[in-house]
Amino acid sequence: MEGKPFALIGVNTNGYDPEKMKAVMQKENLVWRSFADQDRRIFSAWRVQGTPTLYLIDHKGTIRHRWIGSPGAQAIDSAIEALVKEAETS
């Protein structure tokens, strides 16, 4: 996905501050940029029921997919690919 109009953004739901979240990410080998949802405002606004919860948002900011629990890498990849193609051709 290098050079493609795509980004993987995380939201940590533990309520950690950035420092603690960074330590956990290094320990767990997570490399993508993540929001530290310290006051859990994001968690509440998005009414997250459990993790992992995944949202796929298109280049216009519209939610196109929502997965509560991972649907598997293949389903995610093909959904991303379709939306990236859409972004590139628009």
Partner: protein, 143 residues
């Protein structure tokens, strides 16, 4: 233990039976008095119990209404009480995400609500900074 008496209530009844008819007239007047006393005691107890219940009901009725009138304060959604929590200042259920009230979050087809918070380097950024790109937003949790 040896018991010379034969067992069973029926045997006692038959033993006692012959002694009872010896004084029939005195026994009946005594019995009448006893019955009257029992009826009297029962009547007084009944009046006391019913009276007590009525008095308690009248006494407690206003309290009951007051209790019913206390409005139930709904807990604000997702808002955590502020105050001293653990040694790190985090809510006590740290490590486990709190439970949101049931109900779907932002739906497919809706505009993604914007997010603004700090990243792991403390640098604030927004979800909308990535407009123009497809974004996979992953809510993750350290277990």
């Amino acid at each position: 233990m040896k018991n010379p008496e034969p067992e069973g209530d029926s045997d006692y009844d038959t033993d006692d039976a012959p002694s009872k008819p010896k004084k029939p007239k005195k026994a009946s007047s005594g019995m009448m008095a006893a019955i009257l006393v029992i009826i009297g005691v029962a009547a007084v107890s009944l009046v006391l119990i019913i009276g007590g219940a009525v008095v308690l009901t009248i006494w407690l009725w206003p309290t009951r209404e007051k209790v019913a009138q206390v409005p139930v304060q709904p807990r604000p959604e997702g808002v955590f009480p502020k105050g001293p929590f653990g040694p790190d200042g985090m809510p006590p259920n740290i490590g486990k995400p709190p439970v949101n009230p049931p109900g779907a979050g932002p739906a497919v087809g809706a505009a993604a609500p914007d997010i603004e918070a700090a990243d792991m380097d403390g640098k604030r950024f927004k979800l909308s900074d990535y407009r123009g790109k497809v974004v996979l937003l992953d809510f993750w949790n350290e277990f």
